[in-house]
């Protein structure tokens, strides 16, 4: 046994072993006082984790209210942080005068590119202009982001009904996860924001260890154009690529569903497995 009490104090200050080297680890294994202490701390930690108030999720009503506030934030460039005002130098003043003109030009160019040079000045509000093609671009980009974040799931609920309930309580629309055929194991989900609206997101693990992600947004004001489509099992399924991955989109009741695979092409049969049964 190593009687070095410096190790004991190190272990007492860091029972989770973040800063231990091999000598401290060896001491922890043989010192009776340290072993008893570590067992005690582990028991305390376990007991605290089981205490309801320390592992309860946020109340769903509060979560929904906070999410609604995020969704209600007006979109646009954030106000710049307050800085001390300076008298503009002549060249800076000229550059400043050019900024609105550059912004206006960018806006016009964006509108032209976004609408294939179709100047529809009398068109309805921007949300009407969302198309299936944009949805596919957004979900594939979201998917790219989700992979980079690394921890995409907000809840690890693996039961279909429970996850549907949780998502519905967190969203501004009722949502029911489609029944999948065999081969897809539900991993959990989260609330997301895509194609300019709140979205439900659920992840499923495939038999081969891959993962597919299902998005759902209200289909209102989503124009059914911008991507090729085919009829699968009686349902019109749109497909398109973006961000090195493929998405398939279909309308299920009031919702537009999108399925994206982790990488590469999405096997056509997979989308079929999520389509409403009996069609």
């Amino acid at each position: 046994m190593n009687p070095d009490h410096r190790f004991c104090s190190l272990i007492h200050a860091d029972p989770h072993g973040e800063s231990w080297d091999s000598a401290v680890r060896a001491h922890a294994a043989v010192c009776p006082a340290c072993t008893a202490f570590l067992r005690g701390v582990a028991a305390l930690s376990l007991r605290l984790k089981a205490y309801p108030a320390l592992n309860a999720p946020m109340p769903p009503s509060l979560r929904a209210r906070l999410r609604a506030q995020l969704a209600a934030c007006p979109e646009g460039p954030a106000a710049p942080p307050a800085v001390r005002r300076q008298a503009p130098a002549p060249r800076r003043a000229m550059r400043r005068a050019l900024v609105p003109a550059a912004l206006a030009a960018t806006l016009v160019l964006g509108v032209m590119l976004g609408h294939n040079f179709d100047f529809g000045f009398s068109r309805a509000p921007a949300e009407v202009d969302r198309t299936i093609g944009m949805y596919i671009q957004d979900v594939t980009h979201d998917h790219y982001l989700i992979e980079r974040i690394g921890r995409p799931l907000e809840v690890a609920i693996t039961e279909r009904g429970a996850l549907s309930d949780w998502l519905s309580a967190s969203l501004s629309f009722p949502f029911e996860l489609p029944r999948t055929r065999a081969g897809f194991k539900l991993q959990g989900g989260r609330v997301w924001h895509t194609v300019g609206r709140l979205a439900a997101m659920a992840a499923c693990e495939t038999d081969g260890g891959g993962r597919v992600i299902l998005f759902a947004v209200p289909a209102a004001n989503l124009e059914l154009r911008g991507a090729g489509s085919s009829i699968i099992g009686g349902t019109r399924v749109f497909s398109g690529n973006g961000w090195e991955r493929e998405a398939r989109v279909w309308i299920d009741g009031d919702l537009a569903m999108a399925l994206v695979a982790m990488e590469g092409e999405l096997p056509a049969a997979w989308a079929e497995m999520f389509l409403p049964a009996g069609l």
Binding site: A42, R47, L48, A53, L54, M58, L66, E75, A79, H193
Partner: protein, 200 residues
């Protein structure tokens, strides 16, 4: 008033901050000890996070940043409550630890047997800062570095304070569980004197 956020910022906020709402609420509840106050603090902290998000550099640890906001909101609430300032917020527990004398008996069985109300009582007796430390490190599994950043103290201060907090917590649970078990033994050893159930 809600701040203006770009679509990308909303997406980033949703990805980097929203997943930590549960921890935000648990921290507020554990520090303030009241579910309604925790709701108010969570709401207030969320709005502060929305307003400050534009200034958060990409790559910054979102949950630690959010925890710092919650911690400060809890401290503001503590200060405003009966106008007591910071008194008692981060008491170092020196007197309690000295009163314990030797190391407590770290017997795991006693802790496993603790009832929820005994856990609650022992936690509430800790100063708020150390309650938050226990939650972040021992329950949520955050590193000392990350928890210390959120609580705006040095990691060394967190380590030593947390050790004292665990000692005090352990000793209180040992006392309350021990007293209950002794009471139960006495009740079973004295069958001729059944406990008073309040009947007239």
């Amino acid at each position: 008033m809600l701040p203006r956020l770009s679509a990308t910022e909303k997406l980033r906020f949703d990805a980097e901050i929203v997943p930590h709402l549960d921890v935000l609420h648990r921290m507020a509840r554990s520090v303030c000890g009241d579910a309604d106050v925790a709701d108010d603090i969570a709401q207030e902290s969320f709005l502060k996070a929305l307003k400050g998000f534009g200034g958060l550099k990409p790559g910054t640890n979102g949950r630690s940043w959010l925890a710092r906001i919650v911690h400060n909101a809890c401290r503001d609430h503590w200060r405003s409550k009966a106008g007591r300032g910071d008194e008692g917020w981060d008491d170092e527990l020196q007197a309690e630890v000295e009163a314990l004398g030797a190391e407590p008996d770290w017997q795991p069985g006693i802790i496993r047997d603790a009832f929820d109300d005994e856990i609650c009582e022992a936690l509430q007796a800790l100063p708020p800062r150390w309650r938050a430390s226990v939650l972040l490190v021992d329950v949520e599994g955050w590193t000392y570095e990350e928890a210390a950043e959120s609580l705006e103290i040095a990691p060394g201060t967190l380590r030593s304070g947390l050790h004292r907090a665990r000692k005090v917590l352990f000793a209180r649970l040992r006392d309350s569980v021990g007293a209950r078990q002794v009471g139960a033994r006495q009740a079973t050893q004295a069958p001729n004197n059944p406990p008073d159930h309040g009947e007239a």
